[in-house]
């Protein structure tokens, strides 16, 4: 049977009254810890976004030729396999250089160097145009990395283009996919 506890047995019988107060400090600590956790987690989990505009599909009825761009304003970048990046300037006989693009900042000196050249020639950085041509074996990360590098160097105009072989403006490819055995003579 259940018994009702009656303080101490007999005698003086005055049990000490326990305070009903509990020390709340640890509970408050816990509460604020959880609040901090939720606040931090909710604000930091949001990923960032990057704008990308791709050229509109050309109107088949529009017969106006595409605008011409001065060769000295243009830097062309082709993204290749194994995080390789090929860059060249000019159309007639471009000198193609390869850099390792596994670290996206590797391309920064190139972009900024060309920017300086464009500035010397045209007086402002803003006229520079970068053509990005991702090749078959490149991946999405390469593309995001180069777009990011252009944003870091504040390049205003860039275009994402198809890499077509044989590229009519580039003689040096000679119909060969760079990297497929053609690496050695690319730097010549």
């Amino acid at each position: 049977m259940a018994e009702i506890a009656q303080g101490s047995e007999g005698g003086k019988g005055k049990g000490k009254k326990m305070s009903t107060r509990i020390d709340m400090t640890p509970m408050v600590d816990l509460g604020f810890l959880l609040i901090t956790f939720f606040v931090l987690v909710t604000t930091f989990s949001k990923p960032s976004a990057m704008d990308l505009a791709i050229p509109a599909k050309p109107d088949p009825n529009d017969k106006t030729p595409p605008p011409e761009v001065k060769e000295s304003r243009v830097l062309q970048i082709a993204l290749g396999e194994d995080n390789k990046l090929y860059w060249y300037r000019g159309v007639k006989d471009p000198k193609v250089e390869v850099i390792d693009f596994s670290q996206s900042s590797n391309v920064r000196p190139v972009i900024q160097d060309v920017q300086q050249k464009v500035k010397q020639r045209w007086g402002t950085l803003d006229t520079m145009l970068v053509l990005i041509k991702p090749m078959k074996k490149s991946n999405y990360k390469n593309m995001v990395d180069i777009l990011d590098e252009l944003a870091i160097s504040k390049v205003k105009y860039y275009a994402l283009m198809d890499f077509k072989l044989p590229d009519d403006s580039i003689t040096i490819w000679k119909g060969q996919q760079p990297g497929a055995g053609a690496n050695s003579n690319l730097n010549d």
Binding site: R21, D23, M24, M50, D51, K137, K154
Partner: protein, 232 residues
């Protein structure tokens, strides 16, 4: 003469009120925070220095996994439901109307944050016969040859989402909004860094075809570097 007794004050403060406040705030934060939607596929996003955060609402998110499979979804349940209705209004999807006819399938579609399967497969996913994850669903067909209905289904879904969003907005604004880029729902792409470019290109070409020329790429934050201040 009795001695004057100086009562020692306890240094203990009553914490009950503070505790109340702490837990009230805690409850508030838990209730207001939104759960991260479960992704059907695991995606390792590349990083960028961009500091702009993606929008909370009115956005459709396309996920592209390593193999280039596309998954599509949006945050708004009403838009999702309407988009399905829009799809079922158009050919050749209208012929699958019977399969979508039950209340449960419509309700399940409304609740599903994102999906990636050819159109005829969707009722089976919604009824639970096929699990809605990357292991069991093949992604939304981008290539009409791989689609059971011989359509670029991804493009059709994008248009349907856009249409649905605009219809719902128009119902609120009494038909004031026009079909223009300003009123379209924004698209954000969440791609895996290892996706091969031709797969991405296929999707970009689809976007171009449907005149979606401006969109966001969702990336992780890259620490340490910020956009340098170059002299102009």
């Amino acid at each position: 003469m009795p001695k004057v007794k100086i009562k020692r004050k306890s240094t203990l403060v009553d914490m009950t009120a503070m505790c109340d406040v702490a837990f009230l705030l805690l409850t508030f934060f838990i209730l207001t925070s939104k759960f991260r939607p479960q992704d059907p596929v695991e995606i390792n996003m590349p990083a960028s220095v961009s500091e702009r955060k993606i929008a909370d609402a009115d956005i459709m998110i396309m996920q592209i996994d390593k193999e280039g499979r596309a998954y599509l979804g949006t945050d708004n349940q009403m838009v999702r439901q309407r988009a399905l209705e829009v799809m079922l209004r158009t050919n050749p999807y209208a012929s699958y109307k019977d399969k979508f006819a039950t209340e449960e399938i419509m309700a399940a579609f409304k609740k599903t944050e994102s999906f990636g399967a050819p159109f005829p497969m969707i009722p089976d996913i919604m009824s639970g016969k096929i699990a809605n994850d990357g292991k069991h669903t093949p992604g939304i067909p981008v290539d009409s040859l791989k689609s059971p209905v011989r359509r670029n289904e991804l493009g059709d879904w994008l248009v349907a989402f856009r249409q649905a969003h605009l219809e719902l907005a128009n119902e609120k604004a009494d038909g004031q909004l026009k079909m223009s880029t300003y009123n379209y729902i924004r698209l954000a792409i969440k791609g895996d860094g290892l996706t091969e470019y031709p797969e991405v290109e296929k999707i970009f070409n689809t976007l171009k075809d449907r005149s979606i020329n401006k969109f966001d790429l969702i990336t992780n934050m890259k620490g340490g570097e910020t956009a340098s201040k170059s002299d102009d």
